[in-house]
Symmetry: C2
Subunit: 129 residues, 2 copies
Amino acid sequence: MTIKEVAERYHISQDTLRYYERVKMIPEVTRTASGIRDYQEEDLKWVELAICMRSAGLPIEAMIEYVNLFQQGNETIPARLELLYNQMEILKLKKKQINETMNKLSYKISHYEVALKTGKLTWTDDEEE
Amino acid sequence: MTIKEVAERYHISQDTLRYYERVKMIPEVTRTASGIRDYQEEDLKWVELAICMRSAGLPIEAMIEYVNLFQQGNETIPARLELLYNQMEILKLKKKQINETMNKLSYKISHYEVALKTGKLTWTDDEEE
DNA sequence: TTACTACTTGGAGTTAACTCTAAGTCAATA
DNA sequence: TATTGACTTAGAGTTAACTCCAAGTAGTAA
């Protein structure tokens, strides 16, 4: 699979794909005899994981570390687990913060909706805007 | 309340507080006669909202637009509602992506945990790493 | 064989969100 | 009165994550 096809498939730019490889966020991609990238199933798995991590807002640095550990073999499994636990914690926190913000925005939305119907703003004393 | 106290209270730098004001992410903060910031309850509400939005990963630009609409008065309530709905949608999507990533990481974690116990990796054919 | 297109690399440029620096003001203490 | 420390501003610098560019090569169509 060419870089163009991969880029289209995952809605990501070719530049970004090359960038991910360059910074070692994914292992080196399989090449043709003349040095052109020819993504195999395994390469695609790494691309998917990278995109998945990034879409959740996890830093590239974490993914680089994970790939690095992976390439050192099975003795690094405990370290990889540790890394995965850490990222899970970060995601839990992110979710919590998103929920809090959603609650805050919902509150504002409901007040504005009432305001639109009644023509009056109805904030309580401790939450004027 | 001085900028120092506000910074300590919200675990945010004084520089960031000044920056938020400079880019108009919050309205101009109340000042003393000699021009020093003296945060009032209402100023703090805006700071809280700004921090809340940012902690959920929403762009500063959205907050700037919201403050801008607010300062134009009640006729902008429909526009503010629209903006809030948009940000809610963005947050829903973020949550979805986080959930997907958490599922993917959980899957890896469980496999690694089994591997640690049994000494063998147990990926199925379609998910080698 | 010439032209065209898609690929390659190294390196420079961009954007968002801070973060820091320098030079200056002001209130309070030694 | 001198100095200390917290504040002020404008503007420069930093970081993460891309994104673009220039110069070169490889494979295919006319």
